[in-house]
Symmetry: C2
Subunit: 139 residues, 2 copies
DNA sequence: TATTGTTATACTCTATAACTATA
DNA sequence: TATAGTTATAGAGTATAACAATA
C-alpha cells in the first residue's frame, strides 16, 4: 500500500478553489489598475452597446437602485452618459463616453489572467479544459 | 472550409469566466444561506484552530482594521470570541464558539458547488482537470 | 396596474490615519 | 522602534422601501 504521488495527491476541490481565487484577485487588481471597483468595471464592460439600467441589474443579479448608484459614479467620472430613451419615456439608455471606451480597453489589456492561462495550454489541452469545465458545471 | 462544431466553437476564456462566475455566485449564496457575508464566512471558516488577527489579515489580503470589524460583527452574533494571547500581551486569539462551529459546518454543507462539480467527473477526468488547471496557472 | 428609474436610508466592506499597549 | 490590535472616518457596494413618471 503506497501513497499516490500523482495529481490525485491534491483534491479537485482544492484546485478549483485555488484557480477561482487567483482569477478573482487578478480581476480585482486589473480593475484597481484603472482606479475602478469590480462593480464599476462589471457595468462599464457591458456597455459595448448602449442599454437600459434594468437589463444591467438583471444581468448582474443586483437591485436596480444599485445600478443607479454605480452609473452615477461612472458618470461623475465622465466614463458613461445617461441618454433619454426615445422609445420609452421612463427609461434611460446608458452609453460609454470615448474616455469610457478607452478605460474599458485598458482594462481588457490589464486583465491578462485568462489570456495567459489560455496561452499556457496547447490547442488540445484547451479543448479538454472546455469539455471538463462544462461537464463539471452540469446542465 | 468548414466551421468547427467541436468544443473550440467556444473560447477557453469564456469557459473560465462562466465557471468562475458560477463558483462565486454559489459561494455567496451559501454564505447568505447562513445570513453571513462572504467576508464573514471567509474569516469564520479559517478558524478551525484559534489564531491571531494579523495572520487572518495577511491570509485574506486585507487591512488589519478590516478584520477587527468583521470579527466584531461575528462576535456580536456569538459565532466567535476574542481571547487574550498568554504568549503576547498585545495579541488576541480568535476562536469559534460552538455555534460558530455549527454555522461553519452548515456552510460547508450549503456550499455544494465544488463537490457537485467533482462528482460529475470520473477519477480520470478529475486528474486531467487538476493537471490542466495547474498548468494554466503557471508557476 | 405594472414598469423604469431615483431617492432616502441603513448596513457592510474596505482602507487610511492616528492611537494604545506591549514586545 | 516595531508590532498587534482598535478607533475614527470616509467612500463604495448593496438591499429595502417609498416615490415620480410613464406605459
Amino acid at each position: 500500500m503506497t501513497v499516490s504521488s500523482g495529481p490525485t495527491a491534491i483534491d479537485v476541490e482544492d484546485a478549483l478553489y485555488t484557480f477561482v481565487d487567483s482569477y478573482d484577485r487578478a480581476y480585482e487588481a486589473a480593475a484597481a489598475n484603472q482606479q475602478l471597483s469590480v462593480a464599476q468595471i462589471c457595468v462599464l464592460i457591458r456597455l459595448d452597446q448602449r442599454r437600459g439600467m434594468s437589463s444591467l441589474a438583471t444581468e448582474l443579479g443586483c437591485d436596480a437602485s444599485n445600478i443607479t448608484q454605480i452609473v452615477a459614479r461612472l458618470e461623475s467620472r465622465g466614463l458613461v452618459i445617461r441618454q433619454p430613451d426615445p422609445a420609452d419615456g421612463r427609461a434611460r439608455l446608458i452609453a460609454r463616453t470615448p474616455e469610457g471606451d478607452a478605460v474599458s480597453t485598458r482594462f481588457d489589456s490589464a486583465f491578462d489572467f485568462a489570456r495567459e492561462a489560455k496561452n499556457r495550454l496547447s490547442t488540445e489541452e484547451r479543448d479538454q479544459l472546455i469539455v471538463l469545465l462544462r461537464k463539471a458545471l452540469g446542465g
